[in-house]
Every structure is written in C-alpha cells, then in structure tokens.
Subunit: 433 residues, 2 copies
C-alpha cells in the first residue's frame, strides 16, 4: 500500500449512513484523492436488498449478500462496518475482517463498548487499524481531538451531550413546558425518536459512547459494566422550570472523571450553569468538553447523528488509513490497557438539586434541614413557591458540594418524614467550565 | 527513526511558551512516551539569557546562544521554533532546520502567513514535517480538526474569534459599558494587552491566523496580501449597546468564505446572533466554526493563548511526528497549491448595521431610506431612541443581505446628506450557525 496506490474499500451495511458514505466516496473522489494522497476506491458492498436504490452507482462494485463473506473475500484493504449492533452480523464481520488482515472502520458504539478491548488487541497484534471516529458524537472529530490534538495532556474530566434524541426532547420540554411522555410521542411522530425509544431515552446509547470516550481519554481498557446509567424518563417539566429559575439547564450528560478515588463513569440528567457553553447546546446537537492539565478547558460541538455527519467521520478515518496514520486504538497499546479502578459511588462528589413534595405546615423545613446537617450536607439555597396550608407544595433545595453517600443517607431520612409525600427528586449539579 | 527510538528535540526560544513546552516534555515524559510510542527527549535549547531559570532542568541539554547554529548542529530530529516574528532569527532558524533535514514545529503565525508557502514547499520536497498547530487558536486542535477530522468535507466557510486580547476588550466593553480606550488601558495594566497593542487590536494577529486557516480549509496557497483587515479601535460603547438591543454580540471575526465569486478573507468586527455558539465565547477564549458539505456546522472553543495551551499544541505536533504522521502542510501537496482568486469586495454579500448621527428633523429618515432604495438595499429595521428636535440623535438601521458595493454607494450618498453630521458607522451582520 505505498503512496499513490488506491485504497480499496468494502462497505457492509447500506442503510442511510452506508449509502451516504458510498455517495461521499464516489461524489467527492477528486477532493478525497488530493487529501488522502491516493484514490479511495469502492470495490464491494453488502446489504440485504440488492434492488433498493442507494443514491450512487453500484454496477461496478462486487455485491455480497453475506457481509462476513465480503469481509473474508472482497478485494479490499479496509472493511467499513455500518451494520450496527453489539453482536450478530456486525461483530462477525469485524472479526472476519481482522482475521483476513483488513483494516476496519466502524460507526458501531455498541460493538466497541462491549467488545472493543478484544478487537483492539486483535487489530494491533496484526498491525491493523480499528478506527471508530463515527461511533462517538457523529460529525465531531472528538476521538481525534482527544487522542491526538490533546495527546500532550493528562486529562482529568471528559463529559458531554452524547445523544441527540435526548437533547432534542429536553430542549423541547424546556421551550414548551410540556412533559416527557408528550414530547417523546411527538419526537417519534417526527422521526427524531425510534418506535422503541429505550436505547436512547434510558441512556444506553450515550453510555456506549461515554465508555469509548473514557478509554481514549485515560488510555484505559473500556469498562462498560462499571458505568452508572440513568436516562431522562424521570425528568419533569417542574424540574426543568426550577432549573431555569436557579440559572441552570438540564442536560443528559455522559461524564468520565478520573481522580484519586478512581474512575467515575456516569450517564445521567445533570444541571449545568446556563452560562456554560454546554448549556447552550440545544436540539439534536452533541457536544463534548475535555479538561486537560496543559490545555485547560476545550469544547467541541456539532451534529451527533445523521447520514452526512456520520459519513464525514467514517471517511475521515479512511483518509487517515490512506495517509498511513497509525495510533494505538485507545491511545496506548491495546496489550497494555488496564481497567482503572472504579470510584465507589458513595464517594462521588457533587452538588445536588432536591425537589420535595411536602405538606405545607410549620416545622417541615427544619426537619429536612436537620437531616442534611446531620450528614454534613451544606445547603446552598431553598425555595418554596406559593403557600397552601395543609396541602402538598414543592420545596426546592440546592446543596454545596458533598459526597454522594452522605446525600443518599440524608435523603433516606428525609423520605421517611411524615410530611414528605413523594420520593425526593434529585439531580446532580455540574460545575461545567 | 523506527518505533521505540527516542525522538530528539531542540527548542529555539525559551520565553513563556518555550519554557512551558520544555517543562511539559520533561514533566509528562512517561505519559508522552506511551502516547507517542517512543520517548520525546530534549537534547538542545537556545535562548538569549542562559542564567534565567526556566522551570525545568537544563544541565543535561546542549546550550546554543545562536538558534540558527542549533538548527544546523544540534543532535535533534525536530527543531521547535518559539522565537516569533515573520523574519529575523525565527525565519533563519526554520530555514536552517529544513536545510539540515530536521522537522520543524512552530507556533509562529507571522512567519507562516508571510513565508508559509515557500517553507511548505521546502519541507515537503525534503520529506520533512512543518507543523504549526500552536500557531492558530492556541490550545484548540483546529488545524488537525480541519485538515484531518473534516478531511472528507468540501468546506465553504471557516470563521472564528482568533485573538483573545480583542475578545477580552470587547467582552469587558459590553459588560461595563465603557469605551475602547479606557478598557484597553486597563487590559494593558493587567497584562492582557501589550504596551504596543496594535498587532492585536488592529487585527493583524487574527489575520495571520485566518490566512493559515483558510489555506488549510481550502487546500490553497496562503495569500496574506489578499486579506481585508479591520481592528476594533472604532467599535464604540454605543454600537455594543445597540447590538445588545438588536439581539447581537459584536465580535472580532476572521472569516474565510469560498463561493462562486472567489475567496473572501476578512478580519473585522461583526455582529453575530446572541443565540449562536460563537456569540457566547467571552473573555480570552478563542473559537472557530467550520462549515462543510457533509458535516454541517462544527464548533471548537478553547484557550487561544497562554503558556499551557500553546505548549499543549506544540507537543501534540511532536507526538504526531513521533507516531509517523505525515499530512500535506496545507492539506494538499505544497507543490500543487495555488492561490484562489480573491472575491471582489464590492461583490461580498452580507447584512449590515448602520449607525447614523442625524439632526432630529422631519424628512431625514425619508432621505436615508431613498438612498438605500435607489441602490436596492432592503431595510430590515430602523430605530431612533429619544427625540431632541434640532439636535443630533442616533438612528440605527439594519439591512437585509445585499452586495457590499451597493451598500457602499448608498452610504456615500447618505454621508453627503446635510442632516447627517458624522460619518456613518457600519458593522457587518453575520448569519452565524
């Protein structure tokens, strides 16, 4: 594969992303050749339905009904896996490609979150590239930024908005004042959310991306089971309105934080200060903040999904391969990657927003405050809007930074108070830079 | 230079950035070795004052009083040029390094803006790297993002806040309501602006960076003389207040835009919608927006200057060299780079803000509106705050998109009206994504 010779490609999966990738390689061939230093040539494709139009000419490429057979047999230097899913055909295709000594480019976050360590070891042992820019934050070149652009930094924290569906729902909830179920139903009608939305709204998709991002940022093995994952189903219009009043936005964040207590990896709804860049990221956009010792805070925003942005990331990986770039898959040689010890959740530090539904009578706030004081949780603010003696009213509290264990113990005691008529709602507050 | 062997470095210039670079290479040696795949070893330095403490050990590195001699003679694979300036010692050092077959890493935007084309040809002809991530937007890995991360895209527009001093001054003017001269004097006292501030506040520094960014984005030769450059000296507190009222922020932007009329390269104060990400970038931060056909809008923000962020970018370039990355300096082979035809300024399109000081009497607005109409410039809004019959009052207009030539002709006629008592102040409005 010396400079000037074509880089031969095969694409497995011709859904919207696969079709856009093929169209980009074909439609932008001259520009890509200048940039890559040699032609990118599509030699084979595999998809279920051969008759379906894909938006680019397929007559001169080999057709495979079976992607695994293509990975083994196609005349290709690189197999582009765009099938999706943690196992099944996608995994079999990637494993077959590596076994047949072909580089792999994939957009498959589930596959990497579950099998990335083993695949990286296999690829590196064979001197092959396993590239996955498209798997995290779509069109934002965040893997490249973290692994190369910030390579001089000891990174301490990486966090971001990694799921556009959730961000669209939260944005619409805030703008319209409507509840989750209502906005989700509309998003499904508009095609912004899947018929089965759980992968997105329960945080699993964001968690897959976070697990990959954390591995790259900290030069560690992917440790998906260590993630704490909470979605956005329980975020209410009331919490969003209170956040507004307190100067925050609620965002579903994936957060990876390395400290003396270990590695913390969480996906959960968080409040971020309205003046921070990440608070301003609305709708289907994704964004990532990386904090390093030399560079300080750096921030990246772009489209997190969709055919064009994802194809842009896939083809960027292909150009890197054509240019001869070789970087360890997760920033350090795969054979040397270790899982970092997980930080015990009770020792995670943070400030908290707490919404209580309490019976409006004298002494309730004193009992709540006493429970917090006894666990050394320091109150930052308290507000109760409206009076309704004898009935249930909302009381909103924010705390200073504390340990999650102390917070949990105080909340258990508060939840047992007679006057507290619903389980407390708790949302973490993030000091976003 | 096979994998595992040390990459030997020599640093020319030990000011704040040079010292931080040396300290980073020394202090983070283990991490950098994992990332780079081999040790980065400092072998030589050159600076004026040997006695001055630099924050890292210098006993075991060769000392050169003359950076050019070091570039020729040091036992180094890479010469890191951190002297600064378009000519003189910096240029001589880089030329000597390339002649002696050493790679070059530099943070020197002036050198590249003026001599980048020739230096890139020399480097590429000799198979050497000329790397300059630190020259544009400091800690933001924007060269890498545009040249590699977005390599699949046909880019149409790249723009950003490229000078932290100007952004700090404009931010402080808005927050305090004070005038430019007053805020500049304070910034000088605080060390945020130089004693001679013209390089920053007149837009030259931003222009150097824009010229480089445009070359990378469009795979073109750098064409610094083609830039239109306007600084921030004429931005008044009144304009900033009116911008606020109209829903805009005033930012000094560098804008490169390629269209059917040619390449437009401008540095000038612009109004951007307050809801756009770039409008939210305050203080000393830099930010860049890149717009591509596949990826859509992508946005990058971080610290644009300072020892740590700049050293982060310099060392990222060193790691790229150690990893064996080779990319054409300006995104296409230097020998093939051509200057793009410059778009004639009268054909640049845009919307405009116009502030007039007019005598408050009937008929003046009609005369102004007629002058705009006769040049087919369409008004979007008009506002006159306060009445003061017979005295001068401010009238603020915004237009729809028009050609700059038409705008200019209308303004000449407006400026000649008896009732218009000061030259019109005009600021371009940018439809930032």
């Amino acid at each position: 594969m010396s400079a000037g010779q074509p880089l031969k490609l095969a694409i497995a999966g011709l859904g919207t992303v696969g079709a856009a990738t093929g169209a980009l390689i074909r439609g932008q061939a001259d520009l890509l050749m200048w940039r890559a230093g040699r032609p990118l040539v599509l030699r084979a494709v595999s998809a279920r339905d051969r008759a379906k139009p894909r938006g680019f000419a397929l007559e001169d490429v080999a057709w495979f009904a079976d992607p695994v057979a293509m990975a083994r047999e196609a005349d290709a230097d690189v197999i582009v896996e765009l099938i999706g899913g943690a196992d099944g055909a996608a995994r079999a295709t990637v494993e077959a490609a590596l076994a047949a000594k072909r580089h792999v480019v994939t957009a498959n976050k589930a596959l990497l979150a579950h099998h990335g360590n083993a695949l990286a070891r296999t690829a590196e042992a064979a001197g092959l590239v396993l590239a996955y820019e498209a798997a995290v934050a779509g069109g934002i070149p965040i893997i490249k930024a973290v692994r190369e652009g910030l390579a001089a930094n000891d990174l301490t924290r990486v966090y971001g908005i990694l799921n556009g569906t959730c961000n669209y729902i939260l944005t619409t909830m805030r703008e319209s004042g409507r509840e989750f179920a209502d906005v989700l139903a509309e998003a499904q009608k508009l095609g912004y959310a899947e018929a089965d939305p759980s992968f997105d709204v329960d945080g699993v998709d964001a968690a897959h991306k976070l697990a990959i991002l954390a591995a790259v940022a900290f030069g560690a093995a992917i440790d998906f089971p260590a993630l704490r994952i909470e979605g956005i189903r329980h975020v209410s219009a009331a919490d969003i309105a209170y956040a507004d009043e307190l100067g925050y936005r609620i965002k579903l964040l994936g957060i990876a934080h390395r400290s003396s207590i270990g590695l913390e990896q969480r996906v959960q709804p968080c409040m971020v200060p309205v003046g921070s860049p990440i608070a301003q990221v609305d709708g289907v956009f994704n964004a990532v903040v990386a904090e390093g010792d030399a560079v300080g805070m750096s921030f990246y925003q772009g489209r997190g999904a969709g055919a064009g942005p994802t194809a842009s990331a896939v083809v960027a990986d292909l150009i890197d391969i054509a240019r001869g770039h070789r970087v360890a898959t997760f920033n350090q040689p795969a054979a040397s990657l270790k899982k970092l010890p997980a930080a015990p959740s009770e020792r995670h530090r943070g400030a908290f927003y707490i919404r209580l539904m309490v019976v409006d009578r004298p002494g309730v706030i004193a009992d709540v405050a006493a429970a917090l004081r006894d666990e050394s949780v320091s109150l930052e603010s308290m507000l109760q809007r409206g009076r309704d003696p004898g009935a249930a009213v909302a009381v909103v509290l924010t705390t200073h930074e504390t340990e999650e264990g102390a917070m949990k113990r105080a909340l258990e005691r508060i939840g047992r108070l007679d006057a507290v008529v619903e389980p407390p709602r708790v949302i973490r507050i993030i000091e976003a830079l």
